[in-house]
Subunit: 319 residues, 2 copies
């Protein structure tokens, strides 16, 4: 009898003992699935890391943001009594049952008109985004990233450090981070009557984009050459730094380089590279907190504010 095992009803100790013994003997183990069936909850959260789609490898070298997110989220989930599942796209045909069985979803960096958000919202599955769907701002519960403010912060720093002409290198994924950063530099440039210098290169290309970026910005009119390049990803920044050095430019004297999201790589390279610390652990913990509330049927209202990114000043921008 289940009362004995789960200690719910009032059962004689003797009976409990006897039943527990037998249970142990036959190696009885209650099916977590059958249990979950009652309240249709498994105690499962899912982290959908959308940009996995665009990364050719999971190698975290220079892209530790997502792995730090995943790790912190898993740990935070456990602390709330949930498990965390890592998936990339639950809308793909042939996904396992489990990919749809989470009590709530966290979607990091959704794409423009992301089908994952569409599916989740159509099926009334609770979810929270980290970064908005750029095409549907305000439509879904989201933790705001403030990519615009972050960009402004970095531009202000570079400007203070003596840069006059700042170029931006973003990734090609159409997510909030890439798009809002672009908007921010365009606005910033135009307010100074400058033609915005922007280039988008695939995230997955990593360090390999260095020469292409240098070619793009340093081939035309010398008056238009940047004296600072802000790359959103640490790997792009590393590639640009290396390419600039190869071309005989001194960093930071001739060219400053900074990254919007760094890894240890940027802290130990020569020169070390200025980065933003996006606080992925804090964001992940916050997202888990919200997902747990959603999973438990609570209403959560925005705006959801995260800890601000901070600037890690390093040699590459220290003139």
């Amino acid at each position: 009898m289940s009362h004995a095992l789960n200690g719910k009803g009032i059962v004689r100790q003797e009976t409990i003992d006897r039943i527990e013994q037998i249970a142990a003997e036959v190696g009885y183990r209650p099916s977590p699935i059958a249990r979950g069936l009652q309240n249709s909850k498994l105690g499962l959260l899912a982290l959908v890391i959308r940009p996995f789609h665009s990364l050719d490898t999971f190698l975290p070298e220079g892209v530790d943001y997502f792995l730090r997110t995943a790790g912190a989220a898993s740990l935070a989930a456990m602390e709330h009594g949930y498990s965390m599942m890592l998936i990339d796209d639950p809308t793909k045909p042939g996904v396992p049952f489990s990919a749809l069985a989470a009590d709530a979803y966290i979607v990091t960096e959704p794409f423009e008109n992301d089908p994952v958000l569409t599916m989740l919202s159509e099926q009334r599955i609770p979810f929270v985004c980290v970064g908005e769907d750029p095409a549907r701002r305000g439509q879904f519960l989201a933790i705001e990233e403030h990519a615009d403010t972050q960009t402004e912060m970095m531009l202000a720093h570079l400007s203070d450090a003596g840069a006059n002409r700042i170029a931006l290198v973003t990734g090609t994924d159409r997510n909030d981070w890439n798009l809002a950063s672009q908007t921010a530099i365009v606005r910033w440039s135009e307010s100074r009557n400058l033609r915005p210098l922007v280039m988008s290169v695939p995230e997955a290309e990593g360090e390999r984009v260095g020469d292409a970026v240098m070619d793009e910005f340093f081939s035309g009119d010398p008056a238009e050459h940047p004296d600072a390049i802000y790359c959103l990803t640490g790997r792009h920044a590393a590639g640009v730094t290396a390419a600039a050095l190869r071309r005989g430019l001194r960093i930071p004297q001739d060219l400053m380089v900074a990254a919007g999201s760094g890894s240890l790589q940027n802290q130990t390279s020569t020169p070390t590279v200025t980065t933003l610390d996006l606080k992925p652990e804090a964001i992940a913990q916050f997202a888990v907190e919200i997902a747990v509330k959603l999973a438990e049927g609570q209403r959560v209202k925005g705006p959801l504010v995260t800890p601000r990114a901070t600037l890690n000043l390093r040699q590459s921008t220290a003139r």
Copy 2:
């Protein structure tokens, strides 16, 4: 009728269409839990990263091994049509149903007499270890790590590079990696009539152990001072390198330093540090393959051989 929706039986197209329409209208979504109940399978794998227990933070700086493992495992699982759950200890009281609902488990670096393995095997839940339970070798299905061979490979390299007296710094977790490495250096030292120089310091201390390690090995009889220190973790190696430098030792001339598991940190530090590449991605993929077989009821027999670790030679051991 379910036949219409899942396309199993023979149903008129017309009926299918009608039912699908209604389903869409009412926002019907089949419960993955109820579905899973039939064959008591959810398409869920679990990765139990035991050393999480000992790490004070999930920050991957210098410990990217586990995160790389987690990432690669998640991706590999998806490719096999499974989801991957990240948990640290399913034996803890109060774990969610889901933590026990996986079809198969991968346990990385189990401890000595690890209760997780005990539970899993008692409950007849299929699992595969990465690294053996040091107290129960051969008892459970395990992917062998060859920590002993790895240690020998590193010792041979250091020896070739000119080291005469090599010290080993391990973590304090009682897992295969730490223990087998210790055994290997003891054997190696004794065969040369040398007193083994071994020290164990907590994994979680990371770079902070530098001075303690230097004190330990450089305080006594100068004849016993090592001219090479092999740290199993990259963070320990980084700490030792820094401490040695601070004391005026030149690396590698006066002291060589190497790590058994490195991260990007060791590739970009000054000097760069020689490490083993343990191939976590390959191991994770292999583990997932096995877990999938187990989940599907196939028998898997050992010995399970992994790709060999390779040596990344860097400045810290280049005399």
